[in-house]
């Protein structure tokens, strides 16, 4: 259980992935995807078991990893002309980029920072941080995740959530959500899920929702803390 002490350290899925690669002492350009995916999912389960809310970004990465894993299992069909792309390539690229950016952050952190290492003349009191009197706040994926958990809990009190969405296409659900949003101004999260018959469909829908929020196709709002989340298409 080396993870438990490290729980809060991870800034996001890429951070967690880098950690796994490091502790497994594997080459970043040749990641044993099955092992890493299993450990990654184990970690998410652990977080859930500890009742720590898993942010949507972590789940999205989980589905990406599972997707890559399944692709790796397919027999390679050698095409004479086209080179087959390694399914891991995109994630390796992201990881490399992420490492560079961590390096950049280290560079910044190591400078003589004003008010940390060096000071200029005339230290003044910091101005009080601004009051945030906004009643409609954009919700984070984290909050969206929570809302989804509540919906599932209400509908299936006994179920243990496992975010595997193989039987339903997330893409198809993305199209469906956009279609439903087309005619109306708002769509409430509760309404979106109310018609669904199975947990796996709900999970696929939820993952689709995350993807849409991430890509900026829709916005999610919460009028009051704890109120139902309102979805809105971003007009193009």
């Amino acid at each position: 259980m080396t993870f438990t002490t490290k729980l809060e350290v991870f800034e996001g899925p890429l951070d967690l992935l880098l950690h796994l690669i490091k502790i497994n002492e594997v080459d970043i350009s040749d990641i044993p995807i099955a092992t890493i995916t299993d450990q990654y999912l184990e970690y998410l389960d652990l977080m859930k078991a500890l009742d720590i809310n898993v942010a949507g970004d972590f789940l999205l990465m989980a589905s990406t990893l599972m997707h890559i894993k399944s692709k790796m299992l397919l027999p390679k069909q050698k095409d004479d002309f086209e080179e087959i792309e390694d399914p891991r390539e995109e994630i390796v690229r992201s990881l490399m980029e992420y490492m560079r950016l961590k390096e950049a952050a280290n560079e910044l952190a190591s400078r003589d920072i004003l008010y940390r290492d060096v000071f200029k003349r005339g230290i003044e009191m910091d101005s009080p941080s601004g009051q945030e009197d906004i009643n409609t706040a954009e919700v984070t994926l984290y909050e969206l995740m929570n809302a989804f958990k509540m919906i599932i809990k209400k509908k299936y009190p006994d179920i243990v959530l496992r975010f595997k969405a193989e039987s339903w296409s997330v893409k198809k659900k993305m199209v469906e959500i956009m279609k439903r949003l087309k005619g109306v101004k708002n769509l409430y999260l509760g309404d979106l899920f109310s018609t669904m018959g199975s947990v796996s469909e709900m999970i696929a829908t939820f993952l689709a929702l995350l993807e849409l929020v991430r890509t900026g196709s829709i916005n999610a709002f919460q009028d009051r803390e704890g109120s139902d989340i309102r979805l809105e298409a971003i007009n193009k």
Binding site: P13, L101, I113, D126
Partner: protein
Amino acid sequence: MNTSLKLIVESLLFASSEPLTPRQIRDLLPGKDLKEIKHVLQELKNEYEKMDRSFLIREVAQGYQFRSLPLYGPYIANMPSSTPSRLSRAALETLAIIAYKQPIIRQEIERLRGVDVSSLVRMLLKKGLIRIVGRKSLPGRPIIYGTTGKFLEVFDLKDLSSLPTLKEIEELGYGEEG
């Protein structure tokens, strides 16, 4: 008469809480030309470097500013009115992306970091370290972000081109605390 100009410029730097550019100083001193002022600034900077005091003159944000030496930072940081603003690891990573990849939209930052950054971006805007540069002609007209003069001031940078270049990373050069 040159000695006097030097001390006039010094007094301006000493009184100002913001870095002063040669141009700003010139505007305060009618009849002096930019070249003269630049020369005097350089002279002052060199003088303080040799003087072995607890502060010197640094070039930041295209201007000149008196600054304490890092050696004395810990003592000053103890002063009750000083507010050492520490940026979290996450904030620093986000700021680094914006600094190195600007102009940049939020979606791109999120792609690189792999997590939602909207609240961090809001915080960095509030701290005046980044700013809205414009909008991209993409669906949704996303906001483009860039760093501010204050960013240069806080990170002891003369200008953006003096950001250290990033080493190419070939292997997991983790090491540093994550």
